[in-house]
């Protein structure tokens, strides 16, 4: 099928960018979206033009490296699906597809569709861990964790750090990402010990990174590839409010 593309091209963070038009003739329904991008880049090389830079690695929806705004939606038209898991069968012959980078002040553009999500690492650095030393730890079955708690913690832990939640949020809030980690660790007995310091440090870091304020529009949950629930945000607010009250 034939596909018309309008893609954001930007050389560097400092230079202005613009949408550029491209056409592809031989796109197959079975191609993944990124394979379509490969095809485009192959054609650009043949024309001696610089390829479109985009982030990707695992191409199976787990590394969280891919991510684009496709037709105005984070990761494209399907809900709960990463860009690499999107297939061209979601489009029709003759469609025009708009492709832009994930946009947020905290995710500066590196080039074209590549953005810098270091801010997420910084949030985890601030407290998204359990301070267990490596090497010497107690017997695993010494800590009993109910099936339900383990499953709930997993649900939150499944986040792949793709940033779609930020990109799709009208406020560019990172609450879904941050809250997923806070919930996971607050649910587990091992993580409870540090919960007060953790939530304050992580939320403050989130603000310092320049993310916006959550107003509960819930767009993030819809686009999140791992279906992380917005209730984690409420849980984070609970932890945070409680921490503010009980900490000194």
């Amino acid at each position: 099928m034939k596909i018309y593309l309008k893609i954001w091209r930007q050389d560097s963070p400092a230079t202005p960018g613009a949408m550029k038009n491209y056409e592809l003739d031989d796109v197959s329904q079975d191609m993944s979206f990124l394979e379509m991008m490969d095809l485009l880049n192959e054609s650009l090389i043949q024309k001696s033009q610089r390829v479109v830079e985009f982030d990707h690695d695992c191409r199976e929806g787990i590394c969280g490296q891919c991510g684009m705004m496709i037709n105005g939606r984070a990761h494209g038209p399907l809900t709960h699906t990463t860009t690499c898991q999107l297939h061209m069968r979601s489009f029709k012959d003759g469609d025009t597809i708009y492709i832009e980078p994930f946009r947020a002040a905290a995710f500066p553009i590196v080039r074209d569709l590549k953005v810098d999500r270091k801010a997420f690492d910084n949030i985890i650095q601030a407290g998204g861990f359990i301070s267990a030393s490596t090497g010497q730890t107690p017997e695993a079955n010494g800590i009993l964790i109910s099936h339900a708690i383990a499953e709930a913690a997993f649900d939150a832990a499944a986040c792949i750090g793709c940033g779609a939640c930020v990109a799709t949020c009208k406020n560019s809030s990172a609450d879904l990402f941050t809250s997923a980690k806070i919930t996971q660790l607050a649910l587990l007995p091992q993580g409870k010990v540090e919960r007060t310091e953790r939530v304050i440090a992580m939320v403050d870091q989130m603000d310092a990174e320049g993310f916006g304020h959550c107003t509960n529009t819930e767009a993030c949950e819809v686009e999140c590839p791992q279906e992380i629930s917005v209730l984690h945000i409420a849980r984070m607010n609970y932890e945070y409010n409680k921490a503010l009250i009980i900490s000194h």
Binding site: A104, K170, H213, N216, T217, L231
Partner: protein, 208 residues
């Protein structure tokens, strides 16, 4: 935001309950309502509460402005092609707009009733109370005035529809069971408040 918002929500209930007296048969309503207004006006506690209310509204609006500024800063460059509206309800994305409508309404509303009642000399009724009832009835006999009210209440309705449960989330209510209850309560609350407030001008307009 949640604090001031919920305080305003609570006030709306009291306010509505008071105003529902306007729906009584005319003579009775007049007596009741004027007595009620007098009661409120004379009470020091109510005076304080009304100032707190005013401050709440202002604080709520100022915070809304700060949020808007934060959002603008956090957004960075705009999307060229934006269909993000497909994944979240319209009202949740336009709380500021809805709030502004409410704010404009409040200015008009306060000028016409609060200001009139508290700062002007008014005719007295049989009991010797200020005749607020007649002021209300007169006001609501102008169709365009009713229209302004109805539009504002619709805006309020949408604001509450999102605001009520959003506030609960902001405060940290996360348990799925209670979240659901709050969601339903929010719908009921919004229907009650919006319906009630919308009913009054219409009934008054068509009665008498």
């Amino acid at each position: 935001m949640a604090g001031t918002g919920l305080f305003l929500c609570f006030f709306l209930v009291i306010h509505l309950l008071g105003n529902l007296q306007l729906l009584l048969p005319a003579a009775e309503a007049k007596e009741q309502f004027n007595w009620y207004s007098h009661l409120l006006a004379g009470n020091m506690l109510i005076k304080i509460i009304s100032w707190v209310l005013l401050i709440s509204i202002i604080a709520h609006a100022v915070y809304a402005l700060l949020l808007a500024a934060k959002t603008k800063k956090a957004n960075g460059t705009k999307y060229v092609y934006d269909k993000r509206n497909e994944v979240s309800p319209w009202n949740s994305r336009n709380m500021g707009l809805l709030g502004t409508v409410i704010l404009i309404f409040l200015v008009i509303h306060l000028k016409d009733f609060w200001y009139v009642a508290d700062f002007t000399t008014m005719a007295l009724d049989k009991q010797g109370y200020k005749d607020m009832y007649s002021v209300v009835v007169l006001t609501f006999h102008q169709w365009w005035y009713v229209l302004i009210y109805e539009i504002s209440f619709i805006a309020l309705g949408f604001h509450l529809l999102h605001g009520f449960f959003s506030a609960a989330r902001t405060l940290g209510l996360y348990h799925p069971k209670y979240v659901k209850i709050v969601r339903y309560t929010g719908w009921l609350y919004t229907a009650f408040i919006t319906g009630g407030f919308m009913l009054i001008p219409i009934v008054v307009y068509f009665n008498n």
